[in-house]
């Protein structure tokens, strides 16, 4: 970003003779390290975090593929998740897992595996978009709040306090009631409520970073506040935020499941794990456990994966944690 538009001519200073190269300093002998080398090394030692990362990766792949499938209107699942087939549901309570249907079929004869996979799309979208909305709000207000301090900081933080004070689910319910059930409203509701976490976390780091000399250096060079905040302060205050993102996505997925379970989240014909868990509950006493089981496992595993990875990331980025 150019901060001034003065068309300055570029003049290098005239050295009458080039300074002798100072043989006094040496080139480091190690390969360029990059910024994440250290964190990655520490993360690798944490088995649980790696498992979490594995789960997240699988989940993201499935979720992304389903998003594409949905956009292109093709089917990427073993069976059509909405294909009703009464033949596969004797007594109307579905058929247990079999070689042809590893997760069994539901009460309408639909393949549970396919439905579970397709529902991953919803979860992934919710996780990613809701957190993205929260980040946009939180990472604008957080750095501004921390950098300027004073009244700005006080006002923003008090507003954040209000958002913190409300019980999360209750607030989401409130918003959903106002906005009505449905796809995009879920993202908005969850995103709108989590921004405070990211803002606060970020602000904490900002408070310590803003007194560092490289910020003063930027000011001495004539950098504008905007440049300083977004080019210097923000990148250096992201470490705790990354952890919060991991946890946040996990949390958003769980919240969406809860909403759908309560019936105010995703509506048919869209299926999410939450709505599946809600709908299939009644079939369990009849002995059809598989409809309830597999989406539940998928949900738990996914959320667990994010949290385990988030924990591992936090430990790996904590400079004080002794090795």
């Amino acid at each position: 970003m150019a901060d001034t538009t003065s068309a300055a001519s570029f003049e290098a200073p005239q050295l009458d003779s080039p300074l002798p190269p100072t043989a006094e300093s040496e080139v480091p002998t190690t390969r360029p390290l990059g910024l994440w080398a250290d964190t990655w090394r520490r993360l690798k030692r944490n088995k649980l975090a790696l498992v979490g990362l594995g789960i997240i990766t699988i989940f993201m792949i499935i979720g992304l593929s389903q998003v594409i499938a949905n956009l292109l209107n093709i089917q990427l699942t073993p069976y059509d998740p909405n294909a009703v087939n009464y033949a596969l549901t004797p007594h109307g309570i579905g058929a247990p897992p079999s070689p042809a249907h590893p997760f069994g079929t539901d009460y309408l004869g639909r393949d549970v595996l396919s439905r579970t996979i397709v529902a991953a799309r919803i979860s992934m979208l919710v996780g990613v978009i809701a957190v993205a909305i929260a980040l946009v709000i939180g990472l604008s207000l957080g750095p501004v709040s921390g950098y300027y301090g004073g009244i700005t900081d006080a006002v923003i933080m008090r507003v954040a306090d209000v958002f913190f004070a409300f019980p999360y689910i209750l607030f989401v319910l409130l918003i959903m009631t106002v906005l009505g059930p449905g796809f995009t409203n879920v993202f908005i509701a969850i995103g709108l409520l989590s921004w405070a976490t990211y803002a606060r976390l970020n602000r904490g780091s900002v408070l310590s970073v803003r007194t560092m000399e490289f910020i003063e250096a930027a000011r001495a060079q004539g950098a504008s506040d905007l440049r300083i905040i977004f080019r210097h302060v923000l990148p250096n205050t992201m470490a705790p935020v990354y952890v919060a993102i991991a946890m946040g996505i996990g949390g958003a997925i769980a919240t969406e499941a809860a909403l759908s379970f309560l019936g105010i989240g995703i509506q048919p014909p869209n299926a999410s794990w939450g709505s599946m868990i809600a709908n299939y509950l009644t079939y369990v006493p009849a002995g059809s456990w598989w409809m309830e089981f597999f989406p539940s496992v998928a949900l738990v595993l996914t959320v667990f994966g994010f949290i385990a990875f988030g924990n591992g990331l936090r430990d790996a980025t904590d400079p004080k944690l002794k090795e």
């Binding site: 901060d3 068309a7 080139v27 390290l33």
Partner: protein, 342 residues
């Protein structure tokens, strides 16, 4: 006309306490400081903690707003400059910081750190900037390839060089070096001192070197300003400062600096000051140094701060200023002719 003129500069920080954050007092960090810096010279600014030297440096560059007084650069008023004027001034006045670990953005590659000033002021095309960065790296004794790396891959001394390269990016005329070597190992300090001296000769720079290490300051400076508790107590040529200190604080300071020479050390006369450095939030009445001064007399020392005055009649042609009612006086051959009542 001097390149930099500082006149009666003041910087007071309010102390806020209580629930309503009322101002209950002030920290008189800088309280009426005046000196000038000629083009091409190196002025050293020394003092112990709380004397206000670092604050002075920052106020001169307008990294902190002044509470009072004036700073002019090449005749232009720095305090009152408009934003576009200030942007132009910033190209001429730059700073090198003390802490090589905190003064570089850890998330930026070195070439971007050094190139940023140019980007901010919209100077040069991408290619021109790239070339300039490579040139600057080489000027400070690093290689262009090292520009790809991140600060944490360098040692303290190398990082300090990067800081210098960044300060040079806009071809400034004046550089404030705030404790440029105190965070470095002894053997690396000497590299940096030599580098700064070489750069000054080649690039015709003017320096304000702020440091607490008197040996370093004396070595690198042409003239030295001694500060105590927000005030200037003495200004002299650096060689004269050691041979003929006039202010009792300067004498004590010089006597306290250990010299790496056992025989000299054994032969030295030591002046040990009593007590601690008082807090700039609560400066003493009258002369700020009087509570610790071996020459203190109730009148006039507790009444009012002595003005900074030129000591006439000694060392013709050399301006030696001191703020004391009883400065030490010397004969032409260097012997002490008058030393105040003890």
């Amino acid at each position: 006309m001097s390149l930099v003129e500082v006149r009666d500069l003041k910087k007071h920080f309010p102390i806020k306490s209580g629930v309503l954050r009322r101002t209950t007092g002030h920290v008189y960090a800088v309280d009426g400081v005046s000196f000038s810096i000629e083009e091409g010279e190196t002025l050293g600014l020394v003092g112990e903690s709380g004397c206000g030297k670092s604050t002075t440096g920052r106020v001169i560059l307008r990294l902190l707003p002044a509470t009072g007084g004036a700073v002019t650069f090449d005749g232009q008023d720095v305090m009152a400059a408009s934003r576009p004027d200030m942007q132009r001034l910033r190209r001429d006045m730059q700073i090198v910081f003390q802490d090589p670990y905190a003064s570089l953005n850890p998330r930026m590659r070195v070439r971007n750190i050094i190139g940023e000033p140019m980007r901010i002021h919209g100077i040069g095309t991408d290619k021109e900037r790239k070339d300039r960065v490579a040139e600057l790296l080489e000027t400070v004794g690093l290689t262009a390839e090292q520009g790809e790396r991140y600060p944490h891959e360098f040692s303290g001394g190398q990082r300090q060089r990067i800081g210098v390269a960044r300060a040079l990016a806009l071809s400034p005329r004046f550089i404030v070096a705030d404790e440029p070597v105190s965070a470095l190992d002894v053997s690396i300090q000497a590299q940096m001192i030599n580098l700064l001296e070489d750069l000054q000769k080649q690039l015709k720079l003017t320096y304000l070197v702020i440091a607490h290490d008197l040996s370093v300051v004396k070595h690198i400076s042409d003239r030295v300003v001694v500060m105590y508790l927000g005030k200037v107590v003495e200004i002299a040529d650096s060689s004269l400062l050691y041979d003929r200190p006039q202010h009792p604080y300067t004498e004590a300071l010089l006597s306290a600096v250990p010299i790496p020479d056992p025989k000299t050390e054994r032969a030295r006369r030591r002046i040990i000051l009593e007590g601690d450095v008082p807090s700039p939030a609560n400066p003493p009445q009258g002369c700020v140094f009087h509570p610790r001064c071996p020459r203190m007399q109730s009148d006039p020392c507790t009444v009012a701060m002595p003005p900074l005055e030129s000591t006439a009649g000694q060392d013709v042609g050399v301006d030696h200023q001191v703020a004391c009612y009883f400065p030490t006086r010397y004969a032409a051959d260097g012997t002490v002719t008058a030393n105040a009542p003890v």
